[in-house]
Amino acid sequence: MEWSYGKLETPSNFVGELETDPDSAPFWEGLAVGEIRVQHCNLCGTYRFPPGPFCLNCGSGRQVYVALNSTPRLFSWIVVNRSTHEDMPAPYAVAVVEYEEGVRLPGALRVHADVRKLDIGMPVKITIETGRRPFIAVHVGEGEECNLSSADRQYPRM
């Protein structure tokens, strides 16, 4: 899709009621210290996100949390033009990225100035930003953040 939105809002993040559970706590603790931690099965080596009590490949309960370190790629994205919650003023963008370890995570999408077109499979850079909870930001391109409002850009086809 041709990137044609102007400056997006960059809300810190959602501050409604977010729950934590025993499976998710290590993920949130990891983000707080700058790591993206997902489950890794000690028996078969399968990675899992979102977390759950048993390995989805072999059924073992011997999963530990490890930090991801491959370069993720853009899997899909949306632009929210109509806000559905006061904490998240529109427009803002959300991405899902895919890691080589085989897991996907959602993040706030930050499009930088040299990007003309978004494609699935583009390599992205990840930062962890501070909000009410820390959150993942997904950066595409280089330079100043998303300021592509020129009228000559085509409105997205869909």
């Binding site: 409604g16 979102p50 994205w77 929210v80 559905t84 959602p106 706030a108």
Partner: protein
């Protein structure tokens, strides 16, 4: 499967509105009475109630109480969204064919617009389970989630934007002939493309409106159906299931193998294998359509078009339309009739097979396929005129 042993004998609606001014229980009772009246059955003799919803409705026992049923021996409260709309018909059919009950009301009742909205607009959000990860970055509602599926599909298969417009416009054209529908203003392709982006790639007209209302269907055993008011509509086959990883909850889509296929493929294969039916055996399709994109995924799953090619099919001039080669969502679907969580697709199929649909009647409709669900899990029903 159920063959002639279970049928849908009664259909009862409340009006669909944006603000009913009634409780879900009042709506459920009103629809249930209408279904019993339509069937011509004595209300108090009904001995089963199945209700489904996502913590936004009433209970089977409460309905049985208000209806003053004499012997409510089979009451079921099922937690489920649109994916359950055909499955609940299967549960009722299983009950009447095994003697757990003789006649069962299947109910959906909610204030979907004036009460808790599934679109999540303006409500307090408590995000647990899979949604805690999504909500943290602003992925808060089903339209936003399904838009993520749609963007992936669009980038993979490059469907014409007109495909989405066709689904919205053709559904609206059908709804105009449906007095129950809440969206009956004519819609052109230009109107579709002028509708605002809400969750790009979804425009407003890609998303169904929420509504208040209730619908009840009466399922009876085959031995009773012959004595009732209308020609029975037989519950030929029902299947429920989906992807091998159904997910911890309705928001658990990040770990799916793919976002280009939904439940419909595996569930349709199950039905076709067990029944010997194929897509060519159906005279009309009622396809669950919380979003336009859902229709594309489901049409591909049930075998109307190969993977990535349903867009071309919906753009053909004679598809989906009343009087066309394969009518789809003859009532206007969730997109234009209103949102009754999919049970309305079953009801419309029943009315079509009875021949009661007036100016939107599909000529000589003998067998209908109904789908329920959008994402990981869903259900299908094959209904045939008795």
């Amino acid at each position: 499967m159920f063959g002639p042993k279970a049928s849908i004998s009664g259909v009862g609606y409340t009006p669909l509105t944006r603000a009913s001014g009634k409780t879900p229980l009042q709506l459920a009772v009103e629809a249930s009475r209408a279904a019993a009246e339509d069937a011509g059955i004595e209300l108090a003799s009904i001995d089963g109630v199945v209700i489904y919803g996502l913590h936004d409705s009433t209970t089977a026992a409460a309905i049985a109480t208000e209806l003053r049923l004499l012997n409510p021996r089979w009451t079921v409260d099922l937690v489920g969204g649109g994916h359950a709309a055909c499955a609940v018909i299967g549960h009722a059919a299983a009950a009447v064919t095994t003697g757990l009950a003789s006649s069962v009301l299947v109910v959906r009742a909610a204030n979907g617009r004036s009460g808790r909205r599934l679109g999540g607009v303006g409500e307090e959000v408590r995000a647990g389970g899979s949604s805690q990860y999504l909500a943290n970055v602003g992925l808060l509602t089903y339209p936003q989630q399904m838009a993520m599926w749609a963007r992936r599909y669009i980038e993979q298969f490059n469907p014409a934007p007109e495909a989405y417009a066709n689904i919205a416009v053709k559904s609206r054209a059908n709804a105009i002939k449906n007095p129950r529908a809440i969206m009956r203003t004519p819609m052109t392709m230009d109107d579709y493309f002028a509708s605002p982006m809400v969750a790009d790639p979804f425009r407003l007209f890609d998303i169904c409106p929420e509504s208040d209302g209730a619908l009840a269907l009466l399922v009876t055993g085959g031995d009773r159906a012959a004595d009732l008011r209308h020609v029975p509509v037989l519950i030929e086959y029902v299947e429920h299931g989906g992807l091998s990883r159904p997910g911890a909850d309705l928001e658990d889509f990040l770990g799916l193998e793919d976002l280009s296929r939904n439940f419909a493929g595996p569930v349709a294969r199950q039905m076709y294998d067990r029944s010997g039916l194929s897509i060519n055996d159906f005279d009309l399709l009622e396809i669950y359509d919380c979003f336009t994109h859902t229709v594309l995924l489901t049409l591909e799953g049930i075998g109307v078009a190969p993977l990535g090619q349903a867009a071309e099919w919906v753009c053909e001039p004679d598809t989906m339309t009343l009087g066309g080669s394969m009518p789809v969502n003859t009532h206007g679907g969730l997109l234009s009739e209103g949102y009754l969580m999919g049970l309305s697709h079953v009801a419309e199929a029943v009315l079509q097979l009875r021949g009661q649909c007036g100016e939107r009647q599909v000529p000589n409709a003998q067998r209908a396929l109904v789908t329920a669900g959008a994402m990981m899990q869903g259900s299908l029903a094959a209904l045939v005129k008795g």
